[in-house]
């Protein structure tokens, strides 16, 4: 009872007393009992309008229940629930429009967040279907650089029984496989190095004995690598720099090697690129390079310049020293077999500085371990190299876009004017234009919505920009995963549904309090007032 309630009750009682005395004292004592009761009714109704009147109600006993069937519901369990009950049944969330509904039972896989939002605000009880075996979550990197490993990681739900074999196939070849033996949810990882140059669709196949449980497309795109421009500053001629320069040049990267051979004398090698003199470093010269690899002995004179360039322009600096001192704020990148750090990296402004004491990696090349050598220096240079300046970058909102489901498009755009998104599929070259809205606070971010009409690879680009490829899955791909998502979303919605004044959702039969509609009380006031007015006229 709040203060408001006390005031209302007090005032009502006072009013009632006043009105009743007036009626009682009236000369014409005809229909006294009627008048008195009408007065009482009037005051009570007025009080009820002012006070929140609720009543207790149960879910199962009495009340009006409804059943919403969503995809994947189990017929038998619905029939069992409905036994001799006359409850209205709906097949779609949009159809649920029953006044005075007390509780809604949802059967099946549940609803998406958007669909949940369309439901009337009544208590919901979710009866999820039994989960079948399948992939319930998945992640892999869709766009890779050449030579990068594609790791497909996820969770597999297996309700039990025989072990399930997961295969990764592509190009009509089994690329990797794993077996899931444990019951319930378990992690898995499959990996392969994509061999194609461009796009390809691999397949994830779940086998239970001879039965195929699932077969899902795994699209993977191998991007064309962007060449680096590397400046190597060597304090003295050595094999290490010689081999790194050779390896980089062989792979098409631009390399400029400046080797000190005497006081003020340099041996220069321009591989795949031509810049002016490099005897004296200047910001203008360093702008032409992505990565500078320098011996610690060379750095003595140009240290400040290089560091400034790293901080301001995002240049990658690799410092080769015979001794590696670990400084705070650094991260160990490569360790030897004893766990000692051989390569460490630290952020420095916009760029990164990498320290290394690797001096004899060229022996790996001489021993024929080309792959290991390439992997080692790729991991180092990848960290050092900054990001290229692109004019646009596309991002798409659900990770697994589905045909005929909206896809949120996000564009980070550096150009001027209004960008438009041109969508094309692999088969048709006619493009669909999407208009984008600018975000008010971040002027370079543009948003839009797109409804893909067909499954498969799709491309998106602006008027001048390069194509970005993305993939749309068919409606029946990743079934288990989408089911799991829907179930979790529905459960989350029910848990977070605070706008419904119910004590607790869940088990049927629990009582709740519902407000009584105010209209009834207004009606009572009008009726009693009318009676009192008309009675005087008679």
């Amino acid at each position: 009872m709040t203060a408001w309630s006390y005031i209302v009750v007090f005032l009502s009682l006072a009013l009632l007393a006043l009105l009743l005395t007036c009626e009682w004292k009236r000369v014409n004592r005809a229909r006294l009992s009627w008048r008195l009761s009408a007065t009482v009714m009037l005051v009570v109704a007025l009080a009820a309008i002012a006070l929140p009147v609720t009543y207790k109600r149960g879910f199962t006993i009495g009340g009006k229940e409804g059943v919403l069937l969503t995809e994947g519901y189990d017929q038998d369990s619905v029939r069992l629930f409905m036994q001799a009950k006359k409850t209205p049944v709906w097949m779609s969330a949009a159809d649920v429009k029953e006044p005075g509904l007390s509780v809604l039972h949802i059967f099946g896989d549940g609803l998406t967040r958007e669909q949940c939002a369309t439901l009337p605000s009544v208590p919901l009880i979710f009866h999820p279907s039994v989960m079948r075996a399948g992939v319930v979550s998945i992640y892999w990197q869709q766009a890779l650089w050449p030579g990068e490993i594609c790791r497909i990681q996820g969770r597999f739900y297996d309700p039990g029984g025989r072990p399930v074999k997961l295969l990764l196939t592509g190009m009509h070849t089994v690329l990797d496989s794993t077996e899931i033996k444990s019951q319930g949810e378990s992690r898995f990882e499959l990996r392969t190095v994509p061999v194609q140059a461009g796009r390809a669709v691999y397949r994830l196949i779940a086998l239970n004995g001879a039965d195929t449980l699932e077969q899902e497309p795994i699209p993977v795109e191998v991007l064309q690598g962007k060449v680096l421009k590397v400046l190597i500053l060597a304090a003295s001629p050595d094999f290490e720099n010689r081999f790194i320069a050779g390896w980089l040049a062989d792979n098409g990267h631009g390399v400029e090697v400046r080797t000190t051979i005497s006081k003020g004398k340099y041996d220069r090698a321009d591989l795949n690129m031509a810049v002016g003199a490099v005897d004296h470093l200047s910001p203008g010269l360093l702008d032409k390079f992505d990565v500078v690899m320098a011996d610690a002995a060379v750095l003595k004179t140009d240290d400040a310049l290089l560091r400034g360039q790293v901080a301001e322009k995002g240049l990658g600096l690799i410092i080769r020293d015979s001794i590696l001192r670990f400084r705070p704020g650094e991260r160990g990148l490569i360790r030897d077999s004893l766990g000692r750090i051989q390569v460490s990296e630290s952020m420095y402004g916009a760029g990164k500085i990498i320290f290394t004491n690797l001096q004899t990696t060229y022996t790996r090349l001489l021993a024929g371990d080309k792959k290991g050598y390439a992997a080692l220096w790729t991991s180092v240079l990848k960290e050092a190299a900054g990001k290229d300046a692109v004019a646009e970058r596309w991002q798409l909102a659900p990770d697994l876009p589905v045909v005929d489901q909206p896809v949120k498009v996000l564009l980070r755009y550096a150009g001027s004017g209004l960008p438009q998104g041109f969508f094309e599929t692999e088969e048709e070259s006619t493009s669909v234009v999407t208009y984008l809205a600018q975000r008010p606070l971040l002027s370079f971010v543009w948003e839009g919505l797109y409804w893909p009409r067909s499954a498969g690879w799709q491309s998106i680009h602006t008027t001048q920009g390069d194509r970005t490829w993305w993939y749309t899955w068919a409606a029946n791909d990743w079934r288990t995963l989408h089911r799991m998502e829907k179930m979790r979303e529905t459960e989350r919605w029910i848990a977070g549904a605070r706008n419904i004044k119910v004590e607790k959702t869940g088990a049927a039969g629990e009582a709740s309090r519902a407000p009584v509609g105010k209209g009834w009380f207004y009606l009572l006031v009008i009726l009693s007032c009318l009676f009192l007015w008309v009675e005087r006229k008679i």
Binding site: M171, G198, V201, A269, N272
Partner: protein, 700 residues
């Protein structure tokens, strides 16, 4: 005419027919048997069979002349076998006019009896035998035929791949006869399937029958060389070609202008024989006292047959520069039958017979030849006979190893005394012999314990002087627990006592101890002769140890001129130009890159390919074709699929998904895993936001 004469005539006719049937059955049986053999050798035609049958028939008719039986012969035979006829059948044959009255009477009587008598069947036995023979041969033949059809059927299933089995239109029938070379010992086979798997050097005959008259029938090998088939007969419907299968590849039939699918022609090369020597081991040392006869067990295998195998043994005698070699070839002393593919061969290497003396070494290897003339040889194996005289020499003992020389002498002494004991065996009593042997065993034990010390092993066995007297000798030691414990405990292998050796030396020392153990066991059980090899081995190992502990450091004498620090880096460099090198590594698109691109192009699945994509596919098809030529079994299906894809691409039609997948599968095998290559990361425009943040973050 008498009534018996017609009986006589019918008997004669029956016998004659039976004789003919006998000859016929015999001829059928024999000729069938022979045709089967001929079929195996490649002459499976029906005409050979008929000719053979005719010849054998003639021979049989000549050898078994029973079919030529005359009426007179029949009469004589009847006379012989049927006594009731009273040897008077001959009368029936004579004309009535020539017979006397008595003869007539007799003839009538005989005629009557002939009608009633049980006539003999002299050819029945032969007929039954011939029939059985013929039936048996027919059964064998039928079984053989059944077997062959089953085998061919299975073979076909193996050979036909990817379900491709259509021949070009216009061809009614194709027969391919493969005649494997003689060394394989395999029969000639005919098949309808055009996918061939033939032995190297096999003769392949194609016989192609067309539906209609064809102007040209040719086979295109490896997509390049076209060979025309020869027409047999004038109607131009039967075509033939023979060719020796020498290299793997694929081929295609061409009838007038229509081309068939690609078929593989896989040539199976003959392998060289495989030799594995089971015993003895690669390095064997025969110590003194051990048997000088070693058994050599060799397994020789080949895919078609081994024709010869020998052991080549070389004895090396002498040392230093005076090493002499003597080579001997030993045979395994057994015949090699044709067609047997695996042999387990045994030979005894008698070292004495080979002329091996102590200090010599025997090098040997096994050589085998298969029936195609290919030869292979095994690894070189070595048997060495150590020179005991060298072991006994004292040379080199004065240097190196930190072990007391007397210990070595002891081991040598034990050997000398053992040999002495063995020489004296006949002159001394058994008791003395045993005692001496036991004494030597004790010596050996002491020696072993001495060496055991180096490894930190227990020096003494079971201390005998355990007593309180030693535990607490002085009054000051009373209650000294450490001392008491010291006296009564057996201090086992104490690592601290061990000399620090390298693990390898330790191991060898342990091996030496094991040999000493063995020697001691034999000596103590009075078997000095058996102990001798172990003693020698122990000595040899000790000798090795002694050699190992030596190190050699070469003397070096380089004197470097000392540097003058004042002069360093003071030279004039003005006229020295800075060297400059450079170059552009233009990366040409390799075949592998093209394959990678094509893999992606083929993965699209839907839609026709555009011009650029077709260009990539065309380039790749050549690469795939080369591989298909070299390994048709692996790549032909993919190459064929690729051709179909290109065909649909040119017609601007959607390619079959299965074709794309097949081609991809073949190409995937040709592409290696790409190596890592650094690249700039993909950035995202942020209108200088992060730079702004960086510039302001450290501002106070």
């Amino acid at each position: 005419m008498f009534e018996g004469k017609d009986i006589l005539l019918s008997v004669q006719r029956r016998w004659s027919v039976q004789g003919l049937i006998f000859c016929g059955l015999l001829a059928i049986a024999v000729s069938l048997l022979l045709t089967m053999a001929l079929h195996r050798w490649g002459y499976g035609s029906l005409w050979y069979g008929i000719a053979l049958f005719a010849v054998i028939c003639c021979v049989a008719l000549f050898v078994f002349p029973s079919w030529r039986v005359t009426v007179a012969d029949a009469a004589r035979i009847l006379d012989k076998y049927v006594p009731e006829l009273e040897e008077s059948c001959g009368l029936l044959l004579k004309p009535v006019e020539e017979l006397g009255p008595l003869e007539k009477l007799q003839a009538v009587r005989v005629g009557k009896r002939l009608g009633q008598a049980r006539l003999p069947h002299p050819l029945r036995k032969r007929l039954i035998i011939a029939l059985c023979l013929a039936v048996a041969v027919v059964f064998v033949r039928a079984a053989f035929l059944y077997d062959r059809t089953v085998v061919e059927g299975e073979g076909k299933r193996d050979l036909s791949f990817a379900g491709v089995k259509s021949v070009v239109a216009g061809i009614r029938e194709v027969d391919v006869r493969v005649t494997p070379p003689a060394y394989t010992g395999r029969p000639v086979r005919t098949q309808k399937d055009l996918n061939l798997q033939v032995e190297e050097g096999a003769l392949v005959n194609w016989e192609i029958q067309t539906n209609v008259r064809a102007g040209l029938v040719a086979i295109i090998f490896n997509d390049s060389s076209q060979v025309k088939l020869k027409a047999v007969g004038r109607d131009g419907m039967m075509w033939k070609l023979s060719r020796v299968g020498s290299e793997s590849g694929f081929y295609q039939l061409k009838v007038d202008q229509t081309l068939s699918e690609l078929y593989k022609l896989e040539v199976i090369k003959d392998e060289a024989p495989r030799i594995s020597i089971r015993t003895p081991k690669a390095y064997t040392t025969v110590d003194i006292g051990e048997s000088r006869k070693l058994s050599l067990i060799v397994k020789v295998q080949d895919d078609y047959g081994v024709s010869d195998a020998t052991v080549v043994a070389t004895v090396a005698t002498g040392s230093g520069e005076a090493v002499k070699f003597k080579e001997q070839v030993l045979s395994f002393g057994r015949a090699f039958t044709t067609g047997q593919t695996s042999y387990d061969l045994r030979q005894t290497l008698d070292l004495d017979a080979l002329g091996l003396h102590p200090g010599d070494e025997l090098y040997y290897y096994c050589r085998a030849r298969d029936n195609h003339g290919q030869e292979s040889r095994s690894d070189m194996y070595i048997i060495s006979l150590p020179d005991t005289a060298k072991l006994m020499s004292l040379e080199g003992l004065t240097t190196g190893f930190d072990v007391k020389p007397e210990l070595f002498r002891s081991q040598r002494q034990i050997i000398i005394e053992t040999e002495q004991l063995l020489r004296e065996k006949d002159t001394i009593s058994a008791q003395t012999f045993n005692n001496k042997s036991n004494d030597l065993g004790i010596d050996q034990k002491l020696l072993r314990l001495r060496y055991g010390k180096f490894l930190g092993e227990e020096a003494e066995e079971g201390g005998m002087d355990e007593s309180f007297s030693s535990a607490g000798a002085g009054p000051g030691d009373f209650g000294n627990a450490a001392k008491v414990r010291d006296a009564f405990t057996d201090k086992h292998d104490n690592a601290e006592d061990a000399t620090f050796f390298e693990p390898a030396i330790k191991q060898q020392l342990k091996a030496t101890l094991t040999e000493m153990w063995n020697a001691e066991l034999r000596l103590r059980t009075f078997k000095p002769r058996e102990a001798l090899p172990y003693e020698y081995k122990a000595l040899r190992l000790l000798k090795d140890l002694q050699q190992k502990s030596r190190a050699y450091v070469a003397k070096t004498g380089v004197h470097v001129t000392p540097l003058d620090p004042n002069k360093r880096l003071t030279g004039k460099l003005d006229e020295i130009l800075a060297p400059r090198s450079g170059g552009v590594y233009d990366k040409e698109i390799s075949d592998e890159d093209k394959l990678r691109m094509a893999l992606s192009v083929l993965d699209q699945g839907g839609g026709a390919f555009n011009k650029a994509e077709l260009g990539v596919l065309h380039a790749v098809s050549g690469v795939l074709g080369k591989q298909a030529m070299a390994h048709p079994g692996e790549y032909l299906a993919g190459f064929q699929a690729m051709k179909r894809v290109l065909g649909t691409g040119e017609r601007r039609v959607k390619a079959q998904l299965t074709d794309c997948r097949l081609a991809q599968q073949a190409m995937r095998k040709l592409v290696s895993e790409p190596t890592a290559n650094p690249s700039l990361q993909r950035g995202a425009p942020d209108a200088g936001l992060s730079q702004l943040y960086f510039n302001n973050v450290n501002k106070p």
